[in-house]
Subunit: 250 residues, 2 copies
DNA sequence: GTTTCCAAAATTGTATACAATTTGTATTCA
DNA sequence: TGAATACAAATTGTATACAATTTTGGAAAC
């Protein structure tokens, strides 16, 4: 009998390197523009250079690092404009995915799965006292909905393009959710996002490609609004992973 | 004094591996779905495993290869639909770039550079007898125009996203240009594309973001038409690099 | 005080040995 | 015959040694 659950084996050194370096950078252990010497990472992570080199290459593809001339990698910094652009790219591709879903049609069972996901978010938002793990659960279901939306396109190519666009720091769906606890208006933002989720799903069910596209683009703009809220809130900035990578306006 | 020309040094083993493996795959030395054992590539390319592994990782990011479970890489195959989707993704991002260029505005000198590039394409198309290097030169200037268009967005993020979308096999601007020599209607296709180039540039100059977006999307569709022409033309298929990766309809 | 040059140190590029894992194959037992 | 198992081969993961390159620091020259 095969194991249906993809139970994860112990992670390889390469995976540990990927997570470890990303964590170091997002924690601000290296400033933006600073080099990441391989030997320093060998010391910090306790493994050989080989998996570290692989991870550096991946993180550069991801956009978190930058290949620096003539050799080596540096931490990349992001201006507010660049983050906005990254959100725009992600939103554009997500709108494409939604349009394709509406045009090509999505199976009833798949639509039901998407609806289930939204039901869970609603249940979460109806709870009178949001618990400590509220944000974590919201992120989980929000991610799931957006992954389903990408899959709904029926195109592996689009799924890949979206995954890459969303892997840039601050460009993903949950980019600024982690610090919403610090921000007063956050609950209302979640509710607005959830209303949009429902409208997007309805438009796909109705095969209304013309309607779903602007809906998704507008939904992506929430991330941009959150960016601005966070930038104005010092408490939020303190607890934002990767805050040190953001170059404030001169 | 700095060297203005980025004269290329002798390529590293890693670069040779990248080009070499891509060439092997595009030449059809490995069938789609087939594994690429590292040691086989060591034999074929005459270098150690280290640069080969780096190249494999890059080619997988690029989309030409696929990480296969539980380990290793295989050659990826592409259905006609997937190629069409890849073109759609590229066109969507190119339209975004053009819209941003129109909205944010582009310097006069930059617009002049784009116009110069189009002048050269026109000169090429006016020649009574297209020479042997006609296609090569067309590709060069066509690539230049599309790179300038991406840059015109003013966004490094968008440039990167576009570069990645265009790196997928058959998704780039020049995807099927190399075999246009085999196709009768090709000269008229080039002329139509050039007319669109001009209209796109005019729309950007006029800051007409609403107009430039559909223009660019329509322009990308030329690649899709070329795909269909090539698929119907056996001679063209024979000389198309990577033809072996295309899964014909069942 | 500034510049130029060279040696030392640091860093990355490459090859290769070894370990761990997966795959293939034969052999044994029911 | 068929399934299970054990062993061998192939393949990838990781560490590390060595080579090539780049950076650094400082002494000497101007």
């Amino acid at each position: 009998m095969a194991q249906p659950i993809p139970l994860q084996k112990d992670p390889s050194q390469a995976e540990r390197a990927l997570l470890g370096i990303r964590d170091l950078v997002l924690r601000g252990e290296f400033r933006s523009g600073e080099r990441l010497p391989e030997l320093a990472l060998v010391e910090l992570l306790g493994m050989s250079r080989t998996p570290i080199r692989a991870a550096l290459q991946k993180l550069a593809e991801e956009g978190l690092l930058e290949a620096s001339q003539p050799t080596g990698y540096t931490v990349r910094g992001f201006s507010e404009t660049e983050i906005a652009d990254a959100i725009e790219v992600r939103g554009t591709l997500e709108a494409l995915a939604a349009r394709m879903a509406a045009e090509r049609g999505v199976s009833t069972s798949f639509l039901a799965a998407m609806s289930d996901c939204l039901d869970r978010i609603e249940a979460l938002l109806k709870r009178p006292k949001p618990g400590r793990d509220f944000l974590a659960q919201y992120c989980q279901f929000n991610t799931q909905f957006h992954e389903l939306l990408a899959e709904a396109s029926g195109s592996e190519i689009v799924v890949r393009a979206l995954a890459r666009a969303g892997s840039l720091p601050f460009a993903g769906h949950n980019a600024f959710v982690s610090v919403q606890g610090e921000i007063p208006a956050s609950l209302e933002i979640f509710r607005a996002a959830q209303r949009q989720h429902r409208e997007i799903l309805e438009a796909i069910e109705a095969r209304s490609s013309a309607r779903v596209e602007p809906l998704v683009k507008e939904h992506a703009r929430i991330a941009y609004k959150n960016l601005q809220l966070v930038l104005q809130n010092n408490e939020a900035m303190k607890s934002l992973p990767g805050a040190s990578l953001i170059r404030r306006r001169p």
